[in-house]
């Protein structure tokens, strides 16, 4: 049970970091489905920098920087040029898959070394607590950072001027513009911040969950992070719950298989997604997206 809880929180961490970034982006009215490719870029950049310098911390910084870079690419087309956000996001995913694969082949010729990883950092005393001790207090710094980040994003959205302006832009870009808020600037910055977090989320995979970069290794986690934001109903608390839920479902399916349950394994692989869909179908009716989500803002465009 303790191992299952520990694995649930561990597996939730990259989803949580990416989803909190996406939450910030979506509350500004932008949908960035390029998050999958952004994570992959962070996974690659983090791995390459950690291998080159021997320092996972440098890898982390590189992953955030790579995320920023991809974010600038996305925002330039989706926010500044106001192209369709879904199309730009998809393009980002495909470019990232190709570019990171090319980079990995060029640098490591099919035989990448192992990266130095961030070790678990147990909190003395608390880590030995029964049941929740290992899950909450014997994890890597990524997990602590993810949980701390949830508090920062939650308070940032509800209690700060920047959060207020962000939400105003997301709910009604026109009204925010009338109030003198620079809509595109707010959105551009939100995308950069969210993408940096997606980059870090990717680095969790190469600097903690494993020690190597493989092509396409994010395996859809970016898309799951998108679902986590919806499932979490665009609130920081909800996103924490949804990410933990998803982490638990994934941890559980591996353990059910390992316990020798006589069910075809694709059922297990579907399990987290099926549960998410079911919960979305039941609870989705009450969820409300930011009103201007996905709509580029053009000041001169006729209203409606």
């Amino acid at each position: 049970m303790e191992a299952l809880l520990e694995a649930s929180v561990r597996l939730a961490a990259p989803l949580l970091i990416a989803a909190l970034g996406e939450l910030w982006v979506e509350r500004s009215g932008v949908v960035n489905i390029g998050i999958e490719g952004t994570m992959l870029s962070g996974a690659f950049a983090g791995f390459a920098a950690a291998v080159a310098t021997g320092s996972p911390a440098v890898g982390l910084v590189a992953a955030a920087a790579a995320g920023c870079g991809v974010g600038i690419l996305f925002a330039t087309f989706a926010v500044v040029r106001k192209l369709d956000q879904i199309v730009v996001g998809m393009a980002v995913n495909l470019i990232a898959l190709g570019a990171t694969g090319l980079g990995a082949r060029a640098l490591y010729a099919g035989n990448p070394p192992a990266a130095p990883t961030l070790a678990a950092l147990p909190v003395p005393g608390l880590a030995e607590l029964p049941l929740l001790g290992p899950a909450l207090f014997a994890q890597t710094p990524f997990v602590y950072a993810a949980l701390g980040l949830a508090v920062v994003v939650g308070l940032g959205l509800s209690r700060t001027g920047a959060g207020l302006r962000l939400r105003a832009v997301g709910e009604s870009a026109r009204a925010a513009d009338a109030e003198g808020i620079a809509v595109d600037r707010v959105r551009f910055r939100a995308v950069i911040a969210g993408s940096a977090l997606a980059g870090v989320a990717g680095a969790v995979l190469t600097l903690s969950h494993s020690d190597v970069f493989t092509e396409g290794m994010t395996a859809g986690r970016g898309f799951i992070a998108l679902a986590v934001v919806i499932f979490g109903r665009w609130s920081a608390g909800g996103v924490v719950g949804a990410a933990l839920f998803f982490g638990a479902a994934t941890a559980l399916q591996f353990r059910l298989q390992a316990r020798g349950a006589e069910i075809p394994y694709p059922v297990f692989l579907m399990f987290p997604y099926l549960v998410t869909l079911t919960v979305l179908a039941v609870a989705g009716g009450r969820a409300r997206a930011p009103a201007d989500l996905g709509r580029p803002y053009r000041r001169e465009a006729p209203a409606g």
Partner: protein, 328 residues
């Protein structure tokens, strides 16, 4: 340049890019892989084979990565249409596409790596990797202390299932009281998922793990290495290539497949007109399949077990023992 001239020039460029550039004298070989050739295993071996075909047979070679059945067919058709002599589809999953496109291009030979589909110009090469995974099973059964062994697969393909079946055969022929559990992760790229699957099996008490997850297999080695570093007595097996050096403290042995040599062998037969419409079986006797013990851990294997492995290998080579494998 006038507009019409420009258009004409463009037409020439386009025509030369997609037209029939057949050259009767050239031996041209193409390879389709289902994944990245940077996986340090299954696909990397095929690519190395392709390069050796170029070096040793002077062939003109091309490689394309194809991910979906539609891309398999597109890849086959593209190369066959351009007059390639031989096109490899590197996996069980290429059979249907090879049969379909093969019927349209009788002058091209299509070889799928594993499978059972045979046509006049389509045949599988069948690796007897099962011979080596059977031996891994014997070794695992002798080495386990917990009585539980784990298997980690990428996708449940018949070729992968078959190597697992042989492994289980080796285990149960050696000890009837050892339990084998398996976990599939659903792809061959997700190292984090492979590590998680390995951790789940280790938590269940498995002390030896065999993976068939290509690139993602590195996650399995990571999990086992961490557990060993924490003081547990746990081991892993390498697969397809000699992976003993990837985690030298825990990889007991690798079931290896000399994929490059197999590709060269098949290409040589095609080039010399010795292609026959039947599966090309390649195993220990052909020098393609081996069990490679990790020299650093050899001392941890009891001498009696090493003798037993040698004896069983000899009876596999003589044909006395036919290891169980999937029907495909």
């Amino acid at each position: 340049m006038s507009r019409s001239r420009l258009v004409a020039a463009l037409c020439v460029v386009v025509a030369s890019a997609c037209g029939d550039d057949r050259d009767a004298a050239a031996f041209r070989v193409a390879l389709l892989t289902p994944g990245s050739i940077a996986d340090g295993g299954w696909n990397a071996g095929a690519y190395e084979g392709l390069r050796e075909i170029r070096e040793r047979l002077g062939a003109e070679v091309r490689h394309v990565e194809t991910r979906t059945p539609a891309e398999f067919e597109e890849g086959f058709r593209d190369f066959a249409g351009r007059g390639y002599t031989l096109v490899f589809g590197h996996g069980f999953e290429y059979q249907e596409a090879a049969a379909r496109v093969g019927a349209e291009f009788p002058e091209t030979v299509f070889i799928t790596t594993s499978g059972d589909t045979v046509r006049s110009n389509v045949a599988p090469m069948v690796f007897e990797l099962e011979q080596a995974t059977y031996l891994c099973g014997v070794l695992a059964a002798r080495m386990t202390e917990t009585g539980r062994i784990g298997l980690i697969g990428g996708i449940d393909l018949p070729s992968i299932r078959s190597t697992f079946q042989a492994f289980r055969g080796g285990v149960s022929a050696t000890r009837s009281d050892v339990e084998v559990r398996e976990v599939f992760i659903g792809n061959f790229d997700d190292t984090a998922a492979a590590r998680e699957a390995a951790l789940a099996l280790l938590e269940e008490g498995a002390d030896l793990l065999l993976h068939q997850a290509n690139a993602a297999g590195r996650g399995v080695f990571r999990a086992v290495s961490d557990r060993a570093a924490a003081g547990a007595r746990v081991f892993a097996f390498g697969i397809n290539r000699d992976q003993n050096a990837m985690a030298p403290e825990v990889v007991l042995a690798s079931a290896t497949l000399d994929i490059p040599a197999a590709f060269v062998e098949v290409a040589t037969r095609v080039r010399e007109g010795r292609f026959t419409a039947e599966p090309v079986r390649l195993g220990m006797n052909e020098g393609i399949v081996h069990l490679v013990l990790n020299p650093r851990l050899r001392a941890r294997i009891p001498a009696a077990t090493l003798d037993e492995i040698d004896r069983i290998e000899a009876s596999i080579r003589s044909g006395e023992l036919v290891v169980p494998r999937g029907a495909f």
